[in-house]
Amino acid sequence: MSRRDALGTSARLVVGAAIEATLAGCRSEPAPAAASEPATQPAAAAATSEPGRFTPEQRAILDGIVDFLIPETTSPGARQAEVPAFIEGVVLAVLDDADRRAFCDGLDAIAASARQKHGLPFAICSPAVRLELVRSLFGPEEATRAFARRVRELTISGFCKSRFGATRVLQYDPIPGAYDGCRSLESVGRAWATS
C-alpha cells in the first residue's frame, strides 16, 4: 500500500480496524537486525517492506505531523522526502524499548484525541481538524512535550539526511576537492547538509 494512500481510499479500512490497530503494530518487537552488508538502497525501502509495523492510523498521524513541520513549498517537504518511512525505521529498529514505547504512545494519544474530541479516527477527520490535532501537539501542553521533541528531532534529521532535503533545501557536495575557510555567505548560498 502506498503510504500516500493512507489518507484516501484505505481510510475506510481504518475505521473498523481502529481498535485492533492500537493494540498491535508500533508496540511489537523491533524490526530484525540489519543485514551485515551496508545498505545500498534508501533506508525507506527496509521499513515499508515490513507490513503491520506502524498501523495505517499511526502512519496517517505521522504523515500529518511531518507535513506540518516541513511542508512542500517550492521545494519538496518531509513527506516527499519519505521522512515518515525513515522515522518508522528509526523508531522500530534504532530506539531502545522505552523510547520506542513512548513514541508509539505519543502517536496513539493523538489517535485517541481525534476519537474523543471528534468521534472519528484521525485519517477521516477533515484536513482542518487533522491540522489542529497536530498543531496542538506542539503547543504548551506538558504531557506531550517529550513526544513532540522526539518527533520534531526525527523529522528534521530525517529530512536533512534525505536526498531531497540534503540537496534541494540544504546543499551537499560529495567531493569538494578543496577547503575555503572564509568566503562570503552569498557565494556559498544555502547551508551545508553535512560537516
Partner: protein
Amino acid sequence: MDQKPKPNRYDAIVVGTGISGGWAAKELCERGLSTLVLERGRDVQHVVDYTTAHQAPWQLPHGDQLTAAERKKKHVQIRSEIVEPSTQHWFVNDDEHPYIEEKPFDWIRGYHVGGRSLTWGRHCYRWSDLDFEANAREGIGVDWPIRYPELAPWYDHVEAFIGVSGQAEGLSQLPDGKFLPPMPLNCLEAHVAGRMRERFSDRRLTIGRCAHLTQAHLGRGQCMYRNLCMRGCPFGAYFSSNAATLPAAVVTGKMTLRPHSVVTEVLYDDRAGKAVGVRVVDAVTKKSEEFFARVIFLNASTLGTAFILLNSLSRRFPNGLGNDSGELGHNLMDHQYMTGAFGTFAGFADRYYSGRRPTSAYIPRFRNVKTKTSRYLRGFGYQAGASREDWTRTIAELTVGAALKQALAEPGPWRMGMTAFGECLPSHHNRVKLDRDRLDPFGLPQLSISAAHGENERAMRSDMGDSAAEILEAAGFSNVETFDLPSPLGSCIHEMGTARMGRDPKTSVLNAHNQVHGAPNVFVTDGACMTSSACQNPSLTYMALTARAAAFAVSELDKGQL
C-alpha cells in the same frame, strides 16, 4: 640472510599491521629481510574494501545510526561514539573479545589489516625534550633512555614518507616537522589565533598538524575535503598502513602477510637462550602453528602486545617475556580528555566556508613550559574548531513549516569548541594482568585491567576547562561554558605503557632501542613501549620509534649481534 627459505622460517616476524606494525613491515622489508607479517584479523585491501566510502547520507541505514541490536553487539565500542553503520566494520564485536574491567576501561579497537590506522584522528605532533626529560626531572616513573635529538631524524624520516601538513610555529615544546602546506584556518579560528597572540604571550593556535596530503605525494592523491576519513579514503589521502606502508612492503617482494593469525606467545628457547619465533592460533581453523625468525617485532597495539609478553612464559622468564623487573603490564596510561569549553561568536555573519576540513586547529601545551604552575605537573593541549551551527540547532527551536525550511537553509551563528588532551602520569598501580580462570573464545586468558587517573590528573582537570573558557572570553565569545564529561582510561584511545623503555633492566622492560631486556632480538615499538604519555597524540612517535628500531635491528643482524 637466509638463502634457502625453510617452511615457517623468516628473517623477521612482525606482529600487527596497525600504525606501527605497518612501519616495521616496510622498514624491515626495504632493508632486505624476508618478513612474515601476522595480523589477527581479516585482510583489508586499500580502496577495494572501503565499502562505505562513497555512500551519501541518504544511502546509509537510519541516517547512519546503529540499530539496538547492533549497539548491543558493540556495547563497549559504542562508548567511543565513533561507531556507526558507515564505520562499524572497523570495530570488534565485543562478546568475541571479552576483557575484565576491574576499574572502568574503554578498550576501543578493530582487528583487521591496518588496525586503527584506518580510524585514527591523524593528528601528528612531535615530542620535545620537555617531554623526554620530565620523568627524570620530577622523579616520576623512570627516565626515558632517549632524548629528542636521537629521535628527530626519525621524525623527519616518517613525516617525509607519510606526508604531514602543518604550519611551522617555532615553539620549543612542539618541534616543527617537515610539513606539506598547511590546511587553512577558517575566519573565526584565524580571529581567535590573532587575539591569542595579543592577549597571551605563551598561547598559540595553529592548524592541526595532520597526516593528510595537501598535495600529491609519493603516488597518493591529495585530500578531497570530504571528511569521511574513518570510512577509509579512496584517494589514499590520509596515512594508513593500507594506503602507504604495507604497499611499500609489498613492492619489495619480501613481505608475507598472513591475516587471521592470532599470536598467543613469543617462543623462547631456554636451551638456546633466545627468542626463536611465535605461536599462532589461526582465527578461522583454530589450529596452532609455529613460525620462526631471527628478529621479532611486537606491534600488536599496547594491550595486544602486553598480552603476548605476559603470556610468553619460559624458565628464563617465568613471569612473562622481559619481565625481570616486575614492571611488565604496569604503568598503563591514557590521556585524560572530554573536558574543555565552547562559546558563541556574534561576528562574521556574512562569512561561511566550503569543503569539509578533516582536521581541527590545535593549541599546544602552554602550562609548565616557560613558567611552572604549583598546582600540577605537566600539561595539556587542545583540539579546537570553529563552525557555523548547522540544521541540528533547529531541533531545539520552535519554528515550523515554511519558516523551519527557511531556517534549515541558513547557517546558524558561529561557535567554537575546544577539547583538552592532558598528560597522564605513569603509576605502577595502573596495570593489566592475565586472568587464567576466565578464558576468551580462543581459550586464551582474558586481560584484566585495573587503571584510573590519579591526583595529578585531577588537579590538572579544572584548569583544562577554565583555560579554554579564558581563551574564548578573551577572543570575544559569549555564552561561554565549560564541559566536563567522564574520561575513563581507554576513552581517549591513546592507551600506552605496560612495557616501558628505560635505562635500567631492574625497572623497565625495554632498552633505548626498544629491545626487550634479556631478549635482544625481540623489539616492542607500539604504544606498550611508552615511558610517559606527554599530551601530544602519540602515533607519530610510535612510527618514529619503529623506524629507528628497525634500522637498529637490521644493523645488529648485519653485525652478527642478534
